[in-house]
């Protein structure tokens, strides 16, 4: 376990090695939140509520979902694809650790780093600039914490799945981009799921995506009651377990037909 914790630390160091990335990241997130705030206030106009969310709740939703994204989002699929295409995966396989487990830890290290040095200061700025309203109910934040941890796992598992496909189709950058758009849209980051037409909502109940962004954001904006929140977390948990199996199967297939590219 020691080695996995050490990996988190290394990832911290790597994030700190590129400070510009860090600062521009904060800027991009603030611009995004600002853009969505103005977009939504235009859409709301004089209306008090749309589909049960007030404009303040909506702004909070946007702010929280972008900040949560900083935690669960990672580029593990792209990193894996690169490592496989350049043959660096060979080096990973000569080390006594589980390659996928290590990747998850790297993602987690990155996530924790962004949560503390990026989301937390970001949320404070947002709190003063935009009319967002946070609850001070600790149980809500507790549920939120569990929920974004599970979002991280769902999203990371999807990334690993996409990453492993590089073993079979050597250039999967198209797939990676498609996956990212699908997740941004269907996870409720761009638009809360309750805004989707009824049939789409019905379909999405059977997909893992809403567990990535919609659930945690709804929990913190109090769009969900406590019972709904616990139900949502259970669903997330089920997805974390369900997604584990195809990864294991694909990974064992991938190892058998691995070709190290470039000598």
């Amino acid at each position: 376990m020691d080695k996995y914790l050490e990996m988190i630390r290394i990832r911290f160091l790597m994030m700190l090695a590129y400070r510009t990335n860090y600062y521009t990241g904060i800027l991009i997130y603030s611009i995004n939140i600002g853009a969505y705030y103005f977009l939504w206030s235009a859409i709301y106009g004089n209306k008090e509520q749309i589909v049960g969310l007030s404009v303040t709740q909506m702004t909070t939703y946007v702010a929280v979902s972008w900040m949560a994204r900083a935690f669960y989002f990672n580029n593990l699929d792209r990193e894996m694809a690169l490592e496989i295409m350049e043959g660096k995966v060979a080096v990973e396989l000569i080390r006594p650790y589980n390659y996928l487990g290590m990747k998850v830890m790297q993602g987690l290290g990155e996530g924790i780093f962004r949560l503390f040095f990026f989301s937390a200061p970001g949320l404070i700025i947002v709190y003063f600039v935009f009319p967002v309203k946070f609850t001070w109910d600790l149980s809500v934040w507790g549920l939120f914490a569990i929920s974004i941890l599970l979002s991280f796992f769902i999203n990371t598992e999807l990334n690993l799945l996409t990453g492993i496909t590089t073993f079979f189709i050597y250039n999967n950058s198209g797939l990676i981009r498609a996956k990212r758009v699908v997740i941004d849209l269907f996870s409720g980051l761009l638009l809360p799921i309750s805004f989707f037409p009824g049939w789409a909502q019905a379909v999405m109940k059977y997909l893992p995506f809403q567990g990535i962004s919609y659930f945690p954001s709804m929990i913190v904006t109090k769009g969900f009651s406590q019972a709904q929140a616990i139900d949502a977390i259970t669903q997330q948990f089920v997805w974390v377990i369900l997604l584990f199996f195809p990864i294991q199967i694909l990974w064992s297939l991938a190892k058998k037909q691995l070709i190290i590219q470039g000598g």
């Binding site: 020691d2 080695k3 050490e6 990996m7 290394i10 090695a17 000569i94 006594p96 190290i260 000598g263």
Partner: protein, 335 residues
Amino acid sequence: MNNVIEVNNLRKEFKAYSSRTGLKGAFRDLLTRNYKIVPAVNDINFSVKKGEMVGYIGENGAGKSTTIKMLTGILTPSSGEIVVNGMNPHKEREKFVQTIGVVFGQRSQLWWDIAVQESFRLLKKVYKVSDEDYNSHMSHVIHTLDIEPLLDKPVRKLSLGQRMRCELAAALIHNPPLLFLDEPTIGLDVLVKLKIREFLKEINEKYQTTILLTTHDLTDIEALCERVIMLDEGKVIYDGALKNLQEKWGEGKEIQFQFLEHVELSAVHSLTSEIPVKWDLDEKEQIFTATLEDNDEVISQVIAKLVAAIKIKDIKINETSTEEIIRNIYEKGAV
């Protein structure tokens, strides 16, 4: 029983796709693709004893790297059997890699963006090396490879030679009994090469570390290995002492002459007509090369004849170099 590596009928096949020509061909390739099965490693057998340093040589694409990757558990063999350190590398990968060290000359195993010592620290945790073992062993390694001043620099700022020394140190953090080196001296200058060779010799003596080395630089092999395994098109064509190779294939000696005056090739031919010798002339440099058997009598005769007749600027007597021997073998494709 002391075999560290045992390889039986090892085989690895790859699918090689070939594209059809033209636009029509490209469209057909969308549906079905032509491929043939190419054996990269073709039923090889060998074993390595503890404490040996073995050179694994062959042309580009002969299957050296593929073999190393199977021996280290990265690739799954298509068929055949491998036992390394008493384990099946692919089946028990995580446990197995704990007992080996690997350096790939063409890829870095250090983390690019962070300081070398941070990489070391992570690897120390990864291999579960205790503080005492690490301190006693690594301080020696760091000192011998002279990388002390590099430890706090990020890897991307190191030169190739500096990085290579750090790579080697990184591969030895857990003091493995078996070391695989895949072209460790590629692109390095003479001084760094010498330092690395010295170091490898030292750890081999000190810890009885078994070393399997692939390289294209035969001076590495000459300096380090008593035994070579030679590979051609996926097959082992020679496995034995380097010395035997030299004795068997080192066809006699070469004498190079440069003369003060202009001499025709036919003139030297007629001078040495009764001695069994073959002459070559390098037109540009005006160097005459005589190839003859390794016999002191004959060599003295040739020199005597020429010195008596023509004024000489320079003479050199060469033994056939390993490089030439290897080249000969590759050209003939068999030993």
